[in-house]
């Protein structure tokens, strides 16, 4: 098992195709690009709809024109006095506070579970104890369980311990259920660290903690990037835990977005679509800036052998 941090580009060895095949190869290439672009259009279609609809004033929204561009600039008021930007204002007013709370949830959840995962990964890859592999598999299982299977006891536990329906409760839950994947990613990452490094420090008489601190941790930046992206995204996008364990008025952005969008009439689609865009922005920014590592996270989340 190795962590692939990105997909390596292989050199293309298509240099010496016989001349007779060249015409057919060119036709094939055209077909391929047409298909690739067609898929791009299909994949981006929901984004087009979100953008276009979010910039239309209520008077501009009708079934007939729903696929068209807005009929006026978003800052120009329609006959009802509303502009396209009003959607964004409404959405922002509704979502600003939940978005703030979600940052307070997703950032610590990502950092803390990444740190615990790093320690676990170090132990499970380098300082094995008896039955370490069985313990690892048992931890890993926690990654795949449907969270419904622990939800009723979790709700009971929260009630009986008197834990509030707050971001703090969600934070604890996200840290705990993030442990399996963070452990997996770091374990795979540390498996790739050359043994000689560890041997050398052991010869120097370094104990476990000091070799972790001095040798492993400085090498761990890529592992941290991957786990933190992964955990941030899953805490940000979570809806299940939020619905079961937090209060709609004090919950993360997913809850507020559903409240904003459900029960929305066609005329109010603009605001909910603007809301969907705003709520997706943080994870999209992470994806755009750190996309290469994002792929790495996806790969290592897949128990690739």
């Amino acid at each position: 098992m190795t962590v692939a941090t990105g997909i390596e580009r292989r050199t293309n060895l298509a240099g010496n195709i016989p001349t007779a095949h060249k015409g057919r190869a060119r036709a094939g290439r055209t077909v391929k690009y047409v298909l690739l672009l067609l898929f791009v259009v299909i994949v981006l279609m929901p984004v087009y709809v979100l953008l276009v609809t979010s910039l239309k004033g209520p008077s501009d929204v009708s079934a007939v024109t729903s696929w068209r561009l807005p009929s006026r600039w978003p800052w120009q008021a329609g006959p009802d006095g509303a502009t396209g930007f009003d959607n964004w204002t409404i959405a922002w007013q509704t979502l600003a506070a939940p978005i703030g709370r979600t940052f307070l949830l997703a950032i610590p959840a990502a950092i803390i579970s990444a740190m615990l995962g790093s320690m676990n990964g170090f132990v499970l890859s380098r300082w094995k104890f008896p039955y370490a592999n069985i313990v690892f598999t048992l931890i890993l299982f926690g990654m795949f369980i449907p969270y419904q299977a622990i939800m009723v006891p979790l709700v009971q536990m929260k009630t009986s311990l008197g834990m509030p329906s707050s971001i703090a409760t969600l934070l604890i839950v996200h840290i705990i259920y993030g442990l399996p994947i963070c452990t997996l990613i770091f374990r795979n990452y540390y498996e790739g660290v050359p043994n000689e490094l560890m041997e050398a420090s052991r010869v120097d008489g370094a104990g476990m903690l000091s070799s972790y601190w001095r040798i492993i941790l400085p090498l761990s930046l890529p592992g941290f990037v991957v786990t933190i992206i992964w955990q941030f995204t899953s805490a940000w996008n979570d809806y299940l835990f939020a619905l079961f364990l937090s209060d709609a008025n004090q919950g993360p952005v997913s809850l507020s977005l559903v409240n904003l969008s459900q029960g929305a009439q066609l005329s109010n689609y603009g605001a909910s679509m603007a809301g969907a865009l705003i709520a997706s922005l943080p994870t999209l920014v992470v994806y755009i800036i750190l996309g290469k590592y994002f792929i790495g996270g996806l790969m290592s989340g897949s128990v690739k052998s």
């Binding site: 979100l50 729903s66 969270y147 709520a279 996806l298 052998s305």
Partner: protein, 296 residues
């Protein structure tokens, strides 16, 4: 013995918080859930033990069977769709494409978006209104002259869940693509060259060299997509809310829980866990074995 403890004592200490937390929050809670599933409904504590009755009730209840059938249809379409698009995209990109990075990023980006956010637009795209009131995909089909293809999407009884798989495919086909692409890239170029030298046709090259090399990746992708599909919850809640027509066990469990039917909710959750285990347990054993073999 003393030396043994000194050797693996510290690592055990370092990992013990995780062992304790995962032990409690995964295994103990699953145990509690199963025991709750064997008690009578609507009581949080000190409830009456009823054995497997909640399970037998569920498995004879039309509503639960309907949710299972929905889940089955959804899973089949979701798996076939993601595997198909994922493979085609990876295959096209593998053969050398200008701006490969751009295509890859675009196909993969839906993965970064939550089902809750994309559900807003898919609810609109899959609107069942037709004719003059049509919006979303029905309006699009009308305007490109394919009006006859308009349909009820997820509002259609039974096969509606196939339409519900569309957003899920949109979201995760790129992920399967990334897996397949790394699989393609893992095949040594010498292997392909050698096969071409032996005069193997393109099809034979795929049949005998590339597909066998890709099968572990395909297996991983299938298991991951399957277990995601069985757990589907956010998507359904975001697109339709918890309504009967698109009900799956995970959303039915939410309905039972909000109705304070704890025994029933736990029983549904237990069945869901068993379904996921059918895929996951053999897979975990398989990867653990493969890894041990690789290390030898």
């Amino acid at each position: 013995m003393r030396k043994g403890i000194r050797n693996w004592g510290p690592p055990l200490l370092l990992i013990s918080p995780t062992i304790v937390l995962v032990g409690i929050f995964v295994y103990v809670l699953i145990g509690v859930n199963i025991s709750t599933a064997m008690t009578k409904d609507s009581a949080l504590t000190a409830s009456e033990f009823v054995g497997l009755q909640n399970f037998t009730d569920l498995l004879t209840e039309p509503r639960f069977l309907h949710s299972l059938a929905n889940l089955g249809i959804f899973t089949v379409f979701f798996m076939v769709g993601t595997m198909l698009f994922g493979f085609i995209w990876a295959w096209m990109l593998d053969k050398g494409v200008t701006a490969e990075g751009a295509f890859r990023s675009i196909y993969l980006f839906p993965m970064a978006v939550s089902f809750v956010a994309s559900g807003v637009v898919w609810r609109w795209l899959l609107s069942s209104a037709q004719g003059d009131r049509a919006s979303g995909l029905n309006r699009l089909l009308q305007s490109i002259g394919l009006g006859s293809l308009q349909n009820d999407w997820y509002n259609a009884p039974y096969w509606g869940m196939a339409a519900m798989a569309m957003p899920a495919i949109w979201q995760l086909a790129g992920y399967v693509m990334a897996l397949f692409l790394s699989g393609f890239r893992g095949i040594p170029e010498e292997l392909r060259e050698a096969a071409r030298m032996d005069g193997a046709s393109e099809w034979k090259l795929y049949r005998h060299v590339i597909f066998p090399q890709l099968s572990p990746v395909a297996l991983s992708a299938l298991v991951i997509v399957a277990h995601m599909s069985l757990k589907v919850f956010d998507l359904i809640m975001a697109v339709t809310g918890s309504v009967y027509i698109t009900e799956v066990p995970a959303t039915y469990m939410w309905v039972a829980l909000t109705g304070a039917e704890y025994g029933k909710a736990s029983a549904i959750a237990t069945i869901l866990l068993l379904l996921v285990c059918i895929f996951i347990v053999p897979y975990l054993i398989y990867t653990a074995r493969a890894e041990r073999k690789a290390r030898r």
